[in-house]
Each structure stands twice: as structure tokens, then as C-alpha cells.
């Protein structure tokens, strides 16, 4: 199966690989997937509390090329968005942007879950009512 140019680009030159300090109250972490399923995605955001804007985003992913590309793209999209805006990112947006084939749609679902997980973690750390829970698949 051939990968799209965009998947290859993100895979070969992933954006925002790394780790944020999860002990900071401004950092939220989403960890989704499981090693036995062949996919684990960890997505982290750092939020400016005064504006509720995401000022940094990092990821690490264990998985296939599409999973890595989906999380790389997600971190790019998150930076500069408010929490409210970030919550509107839909997995199908990722599918469309990366031209993922049907068998790889689960990679985009995982990325959406990771975004929602990271936001929920940030909110619960800061006593904010959690606006969205990661969907269970």
C-alpha cells in the first residue's frame, strides 16, 4: 500500500516530537491506544491560562506511518488554537488532510482522542469542568 505524500512528509520529518513537563499545571497529557493493538499515542499541550490558548504541543507515537503522521499533524494544528477551537478538530479533518485510506482511519480517531485526552487532563488539573471526554473506541 502506498502512502500519500503528506503522510510520508510527516513521517520522515515529524513536527513537534518530544516531551513536555507533565508536572506543570499548564501541561495536559493525552495517552491513548495500547501496545498490543500496535498503536500508542501520547499528545501533550501547554496552555496559557490567561487566554486559554495552546502555546505548545508535543507528541510521541508508537505505531505505523499513518499514526505518526496523524499525531504530527495534530500538534501542528493545535498550536495557537484556544481550547474551544481545539475541541472542534474532528478525526475526519485529519483523514482528509492526510488522504488516509479507510484501513487507516483508526489512526485519525486515535489522534482526536489524544487531543481530547490532553485537554481533559489540563482541565481536570486546573479544576476546570472537563468539556469533552475522549470517545471510547
Amino acid at each position: 500500500m502506498a502512502y500519500s505524500e503528506k503522510v510520508l512528509e510527516h513521517f520522515q520529518h515529524p513536527k513537534n516530537v518530544g516531551t513536555l513537563d507533565k508536572s506543570k499545571s499548564t501541561v495536559g497529557t493525552g495517552l491513548v491506544g495500547a501496545p498490543e493493538c500496535g498503536d500508542v499515542m501520547r499528545l501533550q499541550i501547554e496552555v496559557d491560562p490567561s487566554t486559554q490558548t495552546i502555546i505548545d504541543a508535543k507528541f510521541k507515537t508508537f505505531g505505523c506511518g499513518s499514526a505518526i503522521a496523524s499525531s504530527s499533524l495534530a500538534t501542528e494544528w493545535l498550536k495557537g488554537k484556544t481550547i474551544e477551537q481545539a475541541l472542534t478538530i474532528d478525526n475526519m479533518d485529519i483523514v482528509e488532510e492526510l488522504a488516509l485510506p479507510p484501513v487507516k482511519i483508526h489512526c485519525s480517531v486515535l489522534a482526536e482522542d489524544a487531543i481530547k485526552g490532553a485537554i481533559a487532563d489540563y482541565q481536570s488539573k486546573n479544576g476546570i469542568a472537563v468539556t469533552a471526554m475522549a470517545a471510547s473506541h
Binding site: M1, Y3, F11, P14, V17, T19, L31, V32, G33, A34, P35, E36, C37, G38, D39, V40, M41, R42, K60, T61, F62, G63, C64, G65, A67, I68, V103, I105, H106, V109, L110, D113, A134, S136, H137
Partner: protein, 408 residues
């Protein structure tokens, strides 16, 4: 120095390149000698038949059997189907029980599964962590209704070789037919069915440097005289067991491939086992947390299957698949993300099965190519581990078994 882009083929268990010497022998049979080997009344037919007869002898010599015991087919999948379904139908009155192994190829497993609809009872033997079956378990599974034991000679994913002689002895003791899918073994290591006690042997040309689209089934003609019910109706070719015009150029090439294998397989095996060992040594000494899957003392000389912990196989392959061809135990192509059932049968956790890569070397693999592959692999594994959250957690000392994963 090797210049990029270079393509290194380390996927010889999937298929082998056709040896140029094989191609040379095939060429005349496309145009200059175009006959149908079943045409009995003109020289075109005679010379085609001669080519087929000679190939049959070359293949029989490789197995040390009688040429009459070789039935040509389209490949190993057809041979497996013909052997198992053919025996089941021919010996149905004697019993309906077939014993096979969980790590067999799908051509055997799915054929057996299909026969359950026709009333067959199938026992699937488990394998130990090293991929070998338990002989006591095999013997205990044989009962009065058992008509066939089907055990592959060497596994396609791990290269593990089953204790064939011991299995043959058990089958003989109990008067049960012994069939083997020897697709990965024939032409690479000695496979002499009469010495082992194998009564039906399925194999194919394109795994031993011959052309695709042609295979064979060895069917014992003497003590015991085995018969299989034909699975296709037609002109009654191949002693009535397999109808259909013979693929003359393919068979001629298959014969030549068998002859070359008979003469060169020992030297090939010796060279490739050293090269394989070097590949393994380099990878396992330069990378942490690598595990070789399957029994290392009983396996094919050119194969290794390695799990690179906390790296997903398909992703890893993507780091070098423009240059290097290998296979992964992770089939990340469905929502269920099924890992290799063969590796899971060895007791590997799904996580390690997803992290595995099969390297299968071949006659045309060079030292330089293996060295090149090692560099690419080491770089790829390191790249993927830099990206892997579970590698980071492992390095921090997190017990991954205690992490609450969100299954999906």
C-alpha cells in the same frame, strides 16, 4: 561504497528471484518449442513432453524419489489443497480426523477449516515458545479415526524446522499418512520424504529460484501407495490427479531450479547461515531490547525473525522500505490490527509480535547488502524509538504492564 538509491531484497521467503540459468532453459519453450506435452502425435508435443519428463527427473532427484511420484500443480497452495482435500475424500471411509499445527500456512489451515464443513474433525497442535511441536502431544492426539497428520517442514515466518523424522516415525507406528507443506524447505535444505516417512510433500518453484505459477506435490507410490482424489475435473493429466494442460516452460524452469538447488544448496546454506548470523549479531549487539523469535538451533539457514521492542514493525519498515525489502509481523491494515498469528502462537505478546521483522536472505544476497541493511535498520529502530512514547516510559523505568491503556 554503495550508492543510493539501492534496493536490497531480504524477503526471499515471500518469493525468490528467478535464477538467470533457469530463465535461459525456459526461453525456448515459449516459441521454438511451443507444444502441449499431452499432444501425442507430433514432434511439438514430443519435445514438450521430453522437457516435462526431464524436469520431473530433476525434481525427483532433488527429493530422492521416483519421477512418477511428482504431480505438477500451479503452486504450493494448490498442492496443499490437493493433498489435504484429496486424502480426506479418498480415505473418508477410514476416518475423518486430521491433525495439523496452529503455525501452519493459511493454505493448510484454511483448507482444514473448509473440510470441517464436509465432516472433518481437525486437531490443531500448539507449539512451544521455540516454535516446535510436542511429539508426545502429537502421539496422544492420534486416534482410530485419524487419517492424516500435516506438519510443515519449515515455518515461513520464523524458519523453525519441525522434528520431521520423529513425526514420521510416530505416523508410521500408528499407520497414519504424513503430509508436509515443505514450501520453505525444498531446495534450501535436504528434504528426502522417503527417509523421513513423509507420504505427501507440497512445494513450489518460486521459493527456490524458479518461476512463479508452478509447484508440485510428491505422492508416495510405494509402501504405502497413496492416492488423492482430483480436485479439478478435466483431461486426466498427471495420472488423473491433476487435470489441466501443463505449464511447460514453467515446469522446465522448475526442473532446472531443482537441479541447481541439488548441486548448490549446501554451499548456499553454509554461506547464508554465516551471513544471517552476522546480521543477527550486528543488530542485537548494536541495539538494545532485540529478541530472536523461534528455536535458533532448528531453523532454516537464511532466515531470522527479530522483535525490536517498543517499535511498531510497519512504521519501522517505512523508515527504510525504499531501500530494503523485509516482512513485518504486524499487519496494521485493519481496524483490529492483527499481529502475526504465528508469533502469537509462540507465546509472544501482541506488543512484541507487532514489533517483529522477518529477514530472509537468498542466493543473490551479498555481504555488502547485509551490511547496508544493518545500518538502515539501526538508524530506523533508533528513529522509531525516539518517536515512541513506550520506549521513553520503558527508559524511565515505568512498568508497562501496570499502565492503564485505553484499548480501542
Amino acid at each position: 561504497m554503495i550508492k543510493e538509491p539501492i534496493r536490497v531484497y531480504l524477503d526471499n521467503n515471500s518469493t525468490t528471484p528467478c535464477d538467470p540459468r533457469v530463465v535461459d532453459t525456459m526461453v525456448p519453450y515459449f516459441y521454438q518449442k511451443p507444444g502441449n506435452s499431452a499432444s501425442r502425435n507430433h514432434p511439438f508435443g514430443w519435445e514438450a513432453e521430453e522437457g516435462v519428463d526431464y524436469a520431473r527427473e530433476q525434481i525427483a532427484a532433488l527429493l530422492k524419489v521416483d519421477p512418477k511420484e511428482i504431480i505438477f500443480t500451479s503452486g504450493a497452495t494448490e498442492s496443499d489443497n490437493l493433498a489435504i482435500k484429496g486424502v480426506f475424500e479418498m480415505y473418508r471411509s477410514k476416518g475423518n480426523h486430521i491433525i495439523t499445527v496452529t503455525t501452519e500456512h493459511k493454505a493448510v489451515l484454511d483448507t482444514c477449516d473448509k473440510l470441517t464443513e464436509a465432516g472433518a474433525e481437525i486437531t490443531y497442535l500448539k507449539v512451544a515458545e521455540d516454535g516446535l511441536i510436542d511429539l508426545a502431544e502429537l502421539e496422544a492426539a492420534i486416534k482410530s479415526t485419524t487419517i492424516l497428520v500435516s506438519v510443515m517442514w519449515a515455518n515461513n515466518e520464523t524458519g523453525v524446522i519441525q522434528p520431521m523424522k520423529e513425526i514420521g516415525d510416530i505416523c508410521e507406528k500408528h499407520g497414519v499418512l504424513f503430509m508436509s507443506d515443505a514450501t520453505q524447505a525444498v531446495g534450501k535444505i535436504p528434504t528426502y520424504p522417503k527417509e523421513i516417512g513423509v507420504h505427501l510433500l507440497a512445494f513450489t518453484s518460486h521459493k527456490m529460484y524458479g518461476p512463479k505459477g508452478v509447484g508440485a506435490l510428491y505422492v508416495s507410490r510405494k509402501s504405502p501407495r497413496v492416492k488423492v482424489t482430483a480436485q479439478m475435473d478435466g483431461g486426466g493429466h498427471e495420472r488423473g490427479m491433476r487435470s489441466g494442460t501443463l505449464n511447460v516452460p514453467g515446469i522446465v524452469g522448475f526442473g532446472k531450479a531443482a537441479e541447481i538447488a541439488r548441486l548448490e544448496m549446501n554451499a548456499d546454506a553454509e554461506r547464508l547461515s554465516k551471513l544471517r548470523d552476522r546480521l543477527e549479531h550486528e543488530l542485537t549487539s548494536r541495539l538494545e531490547e532485540c529478541y530472536i523469535n523461534g528455536n535458533v538451533d532448528h531453523r532454516m539457514p537464511h532466515v531470522t525473525n527479530i522483535s525490536f521492542k517498543h517499535v511498531e514493525g510497519e512504521g519501522l519498515m517505512m523508515t527504510f522500505n525504499q531501500n530494503i525489502a523485509v516482512s513485518s509481523g504486524s499487519a496494521c491494515t485493519s481496524a483490529s490490527l492483527e499481529p502475526s498469528y504465528v508469533l502469537v502462537a509462540l507465546g509472544l505478546g501482541d506488543d512484541l509480535a507487532h514489533s517483529s521483522i522477518r529477514f530472509s536472505l537468498g542466493r543473490f544476497t551479498t555481504d555488502e547488502e547485509v551490511d547496508f541493511a544493518v545500518e538502515k535498520l539501526v538508524a530506523g529502530v533508533n528513529h522509531m524509538r525516539d518517536l515512541s512514547p513506550i520506549w521513553e516510559m520503558y527508559k524511565e523505568g515505568v512498568d508497562l504492564n501496570n499502565v492503564q491503556w485505553s484499548e480501542h
